[in-house]
């Protein structure tokens, strides 16, 4: 009953507050989609100029060759990565200059919709375009951590490549008749490979012998029977089991992956986006009603404070007042908005939390007539607002997350005093099909 009550309360509270979305403070991954307010089901990311041409031609031209605006369309294109540069992992992670970061991270985005709703709820066509890039300043600990993970992985690779080369020879020997013979013959080489690669912390004979015996004993238990007519299958099983045993060591692929994914240091994102609206759905009549520019610095701490991340945001938006007065007469829109904010997030094993404060400053200059000399006079209108929210997440299982948000949001247009945010949500992840669950042979 308690569980049922919790579920009902969770769903009910989501319904109550889900009418107005809470947008988290973060850099836009696709500035163009962000400006249109799109959450496309898929973002096209062509990896070559030919693929880019195909993506644009197949979406923006209909069957008769006429230009059309696709619905729910989003594309992100990064010119630098259309070809190989033979970058080593070190060159990729630690470029010589910030110009390299700008080049590599420069991406162009394009988005469109047929459902850009005007003030009277009329659906119109709109296209937006954007650009983003970023700089990254790694701190000293980041470099040490990443290079240490890489060195450990390289040691592991040296050992497995060396063992596998010898395994290819041993499995062909006529005297090797079963898995036990095979493991017996390769033991000396495995021991030597572990020693040469330095993957055993203590290089004393007893330690290496114990380590080798343990690994090979576990491998032998999992190996299939040796069928001499299917030697490759046996060797594949051997490398898979050996790999699984060695992955328990510190030096693993996953450790390097996570070091690269969560690097510590200062990152600064820059993004710009503009949109073009076709309010009458006539291609000959268009207006650029809104443009935005973002700067988003973030800093991830290292070592003992590596669970902490601080992020700031500065966004400047400017609007065509004529457009909004004509097509959104009910809305109060300023000529320009400046959003600024700061967030602090912390991630632990199952628990994470984020606190953010976002301020907004808006202003407009409107025509107020002329003075006696005939000079145009302007009236300045300005407004400010503040939003602050704390969010707490607890991961119940890999697929279920319980979240609670509490704070004060921007004044909504309807019920401007209704600014309390108290939102309890239960997020269930069902996952998508995998290669294993789909029988691709059919």
């Amino acid at each position: 009953m308690k569980i049922l009550s919790l579920l009902l309360f969770t769903c009910f509270s989501s319904f109550l507050f889900a009418q107005e979305k809470l947008t988290k403070l973060s850099a836009p991954s696709s500035p163009a989609s962000s400006l249109l307010g799109l959450q496309p089901s898929a973002v096209l990311t062509p990896k070559s100029y030919q693929a880019l041409e195909t993506a644009i031609f197949s979406n923006f031209f209909n069957g008769s060759g006429k230009v059309t605006v696709p619905n729910d369309f989003s594309l992100e294109f990064t010119p630098y990565w259309t070809k190989n540069h033979q970058l080593t992992l070190e060159e990729y992670l630690f470029p010589k200059s910030q110009w390299d970061h700008i080049k590599r991270n420069s991406s162009l985005s394009l988005a469109s919709t047929q459902n850009f709703l005007l003030g009277d709820s009329a659906a119109t066509n709109a296209i937006s375009w954007g650009y983003r890039t970023s700089l990254f300043f790694a701190n000293k600990n980041d470099k040490e951590k990443v290079l240490s993970s890489k060195n450990k992985l390289n040691k592991l690779q040296l050992a497995t490549a060396d063992i596998m080369g010898e395994a290819q020879r041993i499995v062909q020997l006529p005297e090797v008749k079963n898995a036990e013979d095979f493991v017996d013959r390769i033991k000396a080489r495995v021991r030597q490979s572990f020693l040469n690669a330095g993957i055993v912390p203590d290089s004393s004979k007893a330690t290496i012998d114990t380590f080798t015996e343990t690994i090979l004993s576990n491998v032998l238990n999992k190996l299939p029977a040796l069928d001499k007519s299917k030697q490759d299958d046996f060797l594949d099983a051997f490398v898979a089991t050996l790999d699984a045993e060695l992955a328990t060591n510190d030096a693993s692929f996953e450790a390097l992956k996570s070091s690269v994914k969560e690097r510590s240091g200062l990152s600064i994102d820059f993004a710009y986006a503009g949109m073009i609206s076709f309010p009458t759905n006539d291609f000959q009549y268009s207006i650029v009603p809104r443009q935005s520019f973002w700067i988003t610095p973030s800093y991830r701490f290292s070592q003992k404070a590596n669970f902490l991340k601080v992020m700031g945001v500065f966004r400047y938006e400017w609007y065509s007042l004529d457009y909004y007065k004509h097509y959104f007469p009910q809305n109060k829109v300023y000529q320009s908005n400046v959003d600024y904010g700061l967030s602090l997030s912390a991630h632990f094993a199952k628990f994470s939390c984020q606190f953010e404060v976002v301020g907004r400053s808006s202003q407009s200059f409107t025509n107020a007539g002329t003075d006696v000399d005939g000079n145009t006079l302007y009236k300045k209108e300005a407004g400010t607002d503040l939003q602050y929210i704390g969010t707490f997440n607890y991961r119940l299982t890999d697929q279920v997350v319980l979240s609670y948000s509490l704070g004060n949001r921007f004044d909504p247009i309807v019920n401007p005093t209704n600014t309390l945010v108290s939102l309890l949500t239960l997020n269930l992840g069902f996952g998508g099909p995998t290669k294993e669950s789909l029988d691709l042979t059919k």
Binding site: W81, N84, L87, L89, L153, T160, A161, G165, V260
Partner: protein, 117 residues
């Protein structure tokens, strides 16, 4: 995901006194790995990432097959393939390519013979 790719029955014609210089070139960006060249005899040279190493003369390489094993990883999100070229004395003997979606930790095994001219 780990996957093993094999290229068998490769050959490179080499005179008895001619030295074979083996080279590995990682074409795809951000790839890291070790290549061990298992030659007849007790000393097997290795190459970290891209590079080259002498592996012996024709006479010393003829008694058995030479087995080259590369254990490779690619972790960078911008790269969608692992592409590696193998050369002997500047001549391309094999190019390997696989999609990262198929395997981001491939193991590539070449079996090479060195017949007399």
């Amino acid at each position: 995901m780990r996957k093993v790719y094999r290229y068998k029955n490769l050959s490179y014609t080499l005179a008895d006194d001619e030295i074979a210089n083996f080279s590995v070139q990682f074409i795809s960006d951000g790839t890291t790995g070790q290549t061990v060249i298992n030659v007849p005899g007790s000393t097997d040279p290795s190459i970290l990432d891209s590079g080259s190493t002498p592996i012996g003369n024709g006479a010393s390489l003829r008694s058995e097959d030479t087995i080259v094993v590369s254990d490779v990883a690619n972790i960078i999100p911008e790269e969608d393939e692992v592409r590696i070229r193998y050369f002997i004395n500047g001549q391309l003997v094999q190019e390997h390519c696989n999609q990262v979606s198929e395997s981001d930790r491939p193991m590539i095994i070449l079996t090479i013979q060195f017949p007399k001219p």
